[in-house]
Symmetry: C2
Subunit: 414 residues, 2 copies
């Protein structure tokens, strides 16, 4: 039997999806599973997008241009203008989800063996794209003790080597919900400029900023026009993760021309997804206001409930729809699995994403989980009640660090 490739052995199962078989088994036993593991909102997709699909007049579902339909790119440029980002239709390649935007960016900008610095915890699938492309992720710890703030610039500079090609940020952040300020980004910009690096900016949660905070796009950093690569997606903005439409954007035309050749190799992004995405740009402001209010309520409820639980700490996220919380448990991976295999409360349980998969060093996240507040408030209420009950009886609970010989440290309440 021929062997599996080294990268095939190395690529990790998604921490967001690897527990799915246990969840499926729980459901088969008749247990209701609340899915806080995945950023799959229950928010309705804008009707205008679905109607565009239903009303298609196409008789032949043809290839689109490799960089996406011109009409969509033009309209997308107008969307960016409306959020204060100036780009034109030739400075973008429409991709199959934000995933492919990351892939094209890494392929175009970084040689195998070269490095990209990413504050951790970070979106777990960056690891998948790094392994696919031979890119080495150099993590830099942002800690729950500092509520996941961007590490000091000196910390970044310490790990820059001749192999460093770029810095990657996700803003607002998945998984922490942290929102980087303009000031933080401007500090980062100095470093980017000094070492002539790429700045890969994943801004798919741009619309989800709370408490009056405003999103500042890396595209608006002065003097970095040739350095910034914007990675984006319609998945979260319009709650249509399944259409698989993203985009890679840059004023650096060498990068876009290069990404275009990778795009040609895979022919084109999905036609129906582009139709839905183009139509979705006309989504009413009311839709976003409703969604915003819904998420604020969910966030406040969930984070408050978490912090009420003894030994649990969850910083208040300023953006996206995730939170990372630390738990008084021996091992968050085991805890999440136990919730699905060995626990239920009134025939209900919940699924979270163990944070270990969001760190390069899994030990760092050993007692943390990511929770996506993507369910309606009644479901969240049940999920939090299940979680509180679970923590009372979980066999691996750490009651007091003095009692057990462990490194675990309960984070102080804010």
């Amino acid at each position: 039997m021929p062997f599996i490739s080294e990268r095939g052995k190395k690529i990790p199962a998604s921490p967001i999806r690897k527990l799915v078989p246990f969840a499926d088994a729980a459901k088969k036993r008749g247990v209701k599973v609340y899915h806080l593991n995945i950023g799959q909102p229950d928010i309705k997709t804008p009707e205008i997008a679905i109607e565009a699909i239903q009303n298609t007049k196409l008789k032949v579902i043809e290839y689109s241009p490799s960089n996406g339909f011109l009409s969509y790119r033009q309209k997308l440029a107008s969307y960016y203008k409306s959020v204060g980002i100036e780009v034109n239709e030739n400075e973008m390649i429409i991709t199959t989800g934000g995933s492919e935007a990351v892939l094209f960016a890494f392929l175009s900008c970084i040689n195998p063996g070269e490095e990209v610095i990413i504050p951790e915890p970070y979106y777990a699938n960056y690891n998948g794209f790094a392994i696919q492309t031979g890119v080495v992720v150099k993590p830099i710890v942002s800690s729950i003790k500092n509520d996941f703030a961007l590490p000091a610039i000196e910390e970044f500079e310490k790990i820059i080597t001749p192999k460093t090609r770029g810095i990657m940020i996700c803003n607002p952040n998945n998984p922490t919900g942290y929102l980087y300020s303009k000031e933080e980004l401007e500090k980062l910009a100095i470093l980017i400029k000094k070492y002539d690096l790429y700045l890969f900016a994943d801004e798919v949660y741009r619309e989800f900023c709370y408490d009056g905070e405003k999103h500042f796009s890396a595209m608006n950093l002065k003097g970095l026009e040739q350095n910034v690569i914007l990675l984006d997606s319609v998945s979260k903005r319009y709650s249509m993760c399944g259409v698989r439409i993203g985009v890679v954007i840059s004023h650096n035309c060498d990068v876009i021309n290069t990404a275009m050749r990778f795009a040609q190799a895979r022919l084109c992004p999905p036609t129906f997804g582009q139709i839905a995405s183009e139509a979705a740009i006309d989504t009413s402001k009311e839709y976003f206001t409703e969604v915003y209010n819904e998420y604020i309520e969910r966030r406040n409820f969930m984070v408050n409930e978490l912090n009420k639980m003894h030994g649990v700490y969850c910083p208040m996220p300023k953006g996206a729809f995730y939170a990372v919380a630390s738990f008084p448990v021996d091992n968050a991976d085991k805890f999440c699995e136990w919730l699905l295999t060995s626990f239920n409360y009134n025939n209900q349980t919940l699924m979270m994403a163990p944070a270990s998969g969001f760190y390069s060093n899994p030990l760092l996240g050993a007692n943390e989980c990511r929770l996506a507040y993507v369910l309606k408030i009644d479901d969240l209420r049940n999920a939090m009640q299940v979680l509180a009950e679970a923590l009372k009886v979980y066999p691996g609970k750490i009651i007091d660090k003095k009692e057990k010989n462990t490194e675990f440290k309960i984070a102080p309440k804010p």
Copy 2:
């Protein structure tokens, strides 16, 4: 300005799409362009597939499972059963087009720097995936002089090295239209077994076999259950290239489990494409009979017309909807560009794909072009007339090899 990656510099523009800007300019000048460059059929997508999209009741366009909807995988298994291939729903990963199937197969089975043997000319985009994944393509020439038959097995064996991980075939073949026989594949199987290689079998044109020839799938090669990786797509079968749905299939569960982790990194294949693909499996037999008859007529017409032109030779393809022809021209790339920039006949011209991009050594295809007979017969008639007229006046025409100091050799008429 930060630099572009080496692979970014290396990845070629698609030979099928690189002349698009010239075609666009011709259209702007009011010239009608017949597109024989791209395998984009004008055949209607089955109505049953489009209706499934139009009738969607989805309110939230959610992620699907990373390996695709279970209902689709189950139904797809029944399609394969109907064409004599036994697989179950767990032996497949639904991909974003056949493109991603190739990508996942290379990523899962081959290390960077290791080799895959491919008879050339081959589907140009294999190069793109090889460069993305660091895989080295070792070509083996199948020549127009032998009507592109599979090279002798000894020729394959000669270039096997300790770094060889697999052999890749496209059957029926894009770009040549050659259909490999059961006997040819069984000879290849001996080699695959002897050296314990992977056999990557791209069978996306399975439905397009002519003259009473039957398709023999690599999946039915005895004793190769752990070696064969089937790469497939719905794009051509149902004339819906834009839905971007393919599949990677193997009885080798290590390969499928590995591909699954790559699939998780990019989350899922497109939802609407899966809906259309699942519905399309119920397409009536009449649809395929009509399509078959249409292609037979187109093929016979085009190939006969080509062979009537002085100095042109085109073997009769037994499958797919492409043909590679040799032309009495100095350079096929120049000729194709000239057709778009400097020639028209009654305000019409045509676009072909220069074959150089389908060879590892571009010189081998220097006087060949790939033509896709994907247009209705009236359009094909016009296109062939344009081509015949063009060859009369093309400044780089080779009238007689003795007249010009060139290696060009007019292939003998069959």
